[in-house]
């Protein structure tokens, strides 16, 4: 099966118009000795065959709809209403290109403008772009931008930042001068409990510091107080980069209000299902004064020659297709459709829904934490307020605990031993509005039977 519509007559007529005998004549520039290799690919399939094959592959995966899941650690299962898929799968949105021709792209451009507005409102910033690939690349670009703006190279990050983001940052920083200073900001006592020593961040900031990057809530789930850090950062003429969870921003003070210079975030949880971690949705917002250093596309409101409101891609002089090697980034294709999904969902939620979603996470995660903490051998440890994720110290290695849970049809939390060997008995548990009390009770009951 293929999607080539040509009949034999069409093909012959076209070859005649071109003035060649066969399509082979069109490939003469390609060295003959490598032309037409034998391709060892499986034969094509009809639609019923291919969909059956894909269904069979899909059925080899457990999914979070059929199994209670307490996994988070950067990818979250939040509720996405039915309208999102119904609208984003409309061919007009799904199969249009980047809106370089604004007259035919007003739908995409206006949705981008609305998306930018929502990101600004959630983060408390002045301007936002129309998306980046994911939080990790958005944060990496934010940090590199801060280094360019300040013309400094020292980057301070607390060790509560998501380790994957830091790995991506390190990859992106290759070829640039950048010193990543990872500040220890917590200790673990003999009982496995976490203790905060957040002041260490402030102490690491000096006049060589380009920026401090913090995450709210942090990788382990709790929220740091950032006001003091912001003051220290600015006293040293450095910049504050905050990576914030937009779901938590339904309740939390927007980072713009405590002095953030760039706010990044992962928006997939308000847009798309987990999808094995992709597509995702990188958020990027900043202060007006840094607008011209911002990477990525932006939509701006303007008028047409008749004075009618319209939208265009603007400030393109920052971008690679105009500025080439002097561009603020090489990003071209972004995550537009995910940004549209976010815009639809946030419109549906409104301020009340955003707050309710965050409050549900808050209530349910605290309920789960209390139940888990009461289990013999398990201890919850959260040195600060948390919204949907917290750490549980387990009576044995997390991977044993998770095997037990999996045998009983539950996807346990994230094994922190994966990021730090000494945390192999610490589980990062995530509870969202989609985890029912029944799910939580089942988790707790299953763990009660667990024998270390």
């Amino acid at each position: 099966m293929d999607y080539v519509p040509h009949s034999d007559e069409d093909r012959e007529a076209m070859l005649r118009a071109i003035g060649v005998a066969s399509t082979e004549d069109l490939f003469q520039d390609i060295p003959a000795n490598v032309r037409h290799p034998h391709l060892n690919l499986p034969p094509g399939m009809s639609e019923p065959e291919v969909i059956r094959h894909l269904q069979a592959l899909g059925q080899q995966n457990s999914n979070v709809l059929e199994m209670p899941s307490f996994l988070g650690a950067g990818c979250y299962n939040h509720f996405i209403p039915s309208i999102v898929n119904a609208l984003i799968l409309r061919g007009e949105f799904l199969t249009s290109y980047t809106p370089y021709q604004p007259e035919l792209s007003q739908g995409t451009l206006q949705a981008m403008y609305e998306f930018q507005s929502m990101v600004c409102l959630l983060t408390g910033m002045d301007v936002a772009n129309a998306s980046m690939y994911d939080e990790a690349t958005a944060t990496a670009e934010a940090v590199l931008t801060a280094c360019s703006i300040t013309k400094r190279s020292k980057v301070v990050v607390p060790d509560t930042f998501h380790p994957t983001t830091l790995e991506v940052l390190e990859t992106y920083a290759e070829g640039r001068e950048l010193t990543l200073v990872r500040v220890p900001t917590f200790t673990i006592d003999d009982d496995g409990a976490f203790h905060d020593c957040w002041d260490a961040v402030g102490a690491a900031i000096d006049d060589d510091t380009a920026c401090v990057a913090v995450q709210v809530p942090n990788f382990f789930g709790w929220v740091h107080e950032c006001q003091d850090i912001a003051e220290t950062v600015h006293a040293h003429r450095a910049m504050l980069v905050v990576s914030a969870d937009p779901v938590a921003l339904g309740i939390l003070t927007p980072p713009g209000e405590y002095g953030a210079d760039i706010v990044t975030g992962e928006g997939h949880s308000l847009a798309l299902p987990p999808g094995l971690g992709g597509p995702r949705l990188g958020l990027y917002a900043t202060r007006k004064k840094y607008l011209r250093q911002m990477p990525g596309r932006v939509s701006g409101m303007t008028e047409d020659i008749e004075g009618k409101r319209g939208f265009v891609l603007t400030l393109q002089a920052r971008e690679q297709h105009i500025r080439r090697e002097k561009a603020t980034s090489n990003i071209c294709t972004n995550e537009a459709l995910a940004a549209l999904a976010f815009t639809i969902n946030v419109s549906w939620l409104g301020p009340e829904g955003m707050r309710k979603k965050a409050e549900l996470c808050l209530a349910k995660s605290h309920y789960a934490a209390a139940q888990l903490d009461a289990l013999p051998g398990f201890a919850v440890s959260a040195p600060g307020p948390y919204i949907k994720e917290f750490v549980v110290h387990c009576p044995s290695q997390v991977h044993h605990v998770n095997e037990h849970l999996l045998e009983h049809g539950v996807l346990g939390g994230y094994d922190l031993g994966n990021v730090r060997a000494e945390l192999d008995r610490h589980m990062l548990v995530c509870v969202t509005e989609l985890n029912t009390r029944q799910d939580i009770d089942r988790l707790v009951a299953t763990l009660r039977d667990f024998e270390a």
Binding site: Q59, C75, Q106, G107, T253, I331, N402
Partner: protein
């Protein structure tokens, strides 16, 4: 498309209205000390307040102010706007793919890992490379990944080198990527044939050149006939050759880029392998490498052992991670579905007919539009505007007039080296009737340019908006809605 303007969703908002539907809490209320301290809580959040129907209507109307492949012909050069099969979306929407968490134990995601492994193998066969990663989220992300691997190779040899040679016809992401990776972009001019000027290249190549970034076929729609020699010359000074594979559609089934000597290649799965563009993304990129660069691929890869699949992090020379997880997986599902649908025969036909359509347009339009390079093209053709220039009429006007004929404009002013560039890529999924209607429109527009140029200069008149004031948009940026004071 609908003409009537649609207010912002914020302007449709009315206090107290809501559309959301979320369950009431089924757990006890929070203890006092568990709550978020009041001073850490936001005081306001002026998001739109709208009913579900308000939201559905708003976005439906916005959609109707967009053109798309499903409306009609989208001859956007360099973008490969071919039909995006619906079965791919159906596959990506299966809960076994869309509701899978990336941190799930490997034993619970064997189907997903098998798909990643399988798609990698299909892509390796189509391109001829030793290995590939699907982690890049788009083409430019693949470029970044590829150039970082080239750099890692040179660092391993003891010197990262400083220069990256890039043709003047290259896409902007190429020099931007080189700069992000710490390289100085050096431009090599194109010859009268539209391909790399070999003499100029010879003088630029030295031991400080880390590599070349070439697009094959290039952005003029032409095959680099000297590509094998170029790769040989580069390798002679220890440089590597990067291939921007955005135009891979032309080569499907006809040549494996690895066989030409190109060391590393990125693919845009959202072009060649039909994952939808979504108004600008999400895309998906694959990055393919030969043996020299294989050790540097980003982590993780997927490996197969005794019929079981697992993430592979044990790659000591890897450049590291470039994405939070493993790229845009749901688009990988789409691309996999597409390749399995086509099979070897379908893949070959896609490339063959893309090139047939490209040349057909070129021949039929050459009397009215100026062919900059008069030779067989591949999947796309670039004209230097109208053949018979008309007073005050620019390529932009021609493009805008296409809208009034019911078509999306072609790419304009790219590549930069062709004055008044008009770049047309039909793709293999367009039938002859569509191409003929488009050709008639373009011939009529060329005629109008002589007889009634105002029709072009005032175009479009049939779109949801007329031409927009881009200067003011950039000078006084209005980039967001502001809540009333």
């Amino acid at each position: 498309m609908i003409q009537e303007a649609e207010p912002l969703i914020f302007e449709r908002s009315s206090p107290g209205r809501h559309g959301y539907s979320l369950p009431d809490s089924d757990v006890p209320p929070l203890e006092e000390d568990a709550a978020i301290p009041a001073h850490w809580q936001r005081s306001s959040l002026p998001l739109p307040e709208a009913s579900e129907l308000d939201v559905v209507r708003h976005f439906t109307r916005l959609s109707q102010r967009n053109y798309s492949i499903e409306h009609g012909f989208y001859p956007l050069g360099s973008c490969t706007m071919k039909y995006n099969p619906k079965v791919n979306d159906a596959a990506a929407g299966l809960p076994g793919f869309s509701f899978v968490h990336p941190h799930q134990p490997e034993s619970t995601i064997q189907g997903a890992l098998a798909l990643i492994h399988g798609l990698s193998r299909l892509i390796m066969e189509i391109t001829g490379y030793a290995n590939c990663s699907l982690q890049p989220a788009a083409g430019a992300h693949g470029e970044l990944c590829g150039v970082l691997m080239m750099r890692a190779h040179h660092v391993k040899q003891g010197n990262p080198r400083r220069k990256m040679i890039i043709p003047d016809s290259a896409h902007g992401t190429n020099p931007a990527t080189a700069a992000m990776c710490g390289y100085t972009a050096i431009e090599v001019p194109s010859s009268e044939r539209g391909t790399v000027d070999m003499d100029a290249l010879a003088t630029l190549l030295d031991e400080d050149v880390a590599g070349l970034m070439l697009t094959v076929p290039n952005t003029l729609g032409l095959f680099e006939q000297d590509i094998v020699e170029i790769c040989r010359m580069a390798h002679e000074v220890g440089a590597l050759v990067y291939c921007d594979g955005a135009n891979m559609n032309a080569l499907l089934g006809t040549v494996q880029p690895a066989a030409l000597g190109l060391d590393v290649l990125h693919l845009n799965l959202h072009k060649t392998f039909t994952t939808p563009h979504g108004g600008g993304g999400p895309g998906a990129g694959a990055i393919c490498v030969n043996e020299t660069l294989e050790p540097y691929l980003p982590v993780p890869l997927v490996k197969e052992q005794d019929g079981a699949y697992a993430w592979d992090y044990d790659r000591p020379d890897s450049i590291g991670r470039i994405h939070s997880f493993y790229g845009n997986f749901l688009n990988q599902v789409r691309a996999y579905t597409y390749i399995r649908t086509l099979g070897a025969e379908g893949i070959k036909r896609a490339g063959e007919y893309a090139v047939l359509n490209g040349n057909y347009l070129k021949e039929r339009l050459r009397d009215a539009y100026a062919l900059r390079y008069d030779r067989t093209c591949m999947h796309e053709v670039v004209f230097a505007g109208l053949k018979e220039k008309a007073e005050g009429v620019r390529t932009l006007d021609v493009a805008k007039r296409m809208i009034d004929y019911g078509f999306h404009p072609s790419t304009v002013y790219f590549p930069l080296i062709v004055p008044e560039a008009l770049m047309i890529e039909p793709t293999e999924t367009e039938n002859k009737d569509t191409l003929d209607t488009f050709i008639d429109a373009l011939l009529a527009i060329a005629e109008e340019a002589q007889t009634s140029p105002e029709l072009l200069k005032e175009a479009p008149v049939s779109a949801p908006v007329r031409r927009l004031d881009e200067t003011t948009a950039a000078r006084r940026p209005n980039l967001r809605w502001q809540p009333p004071e």
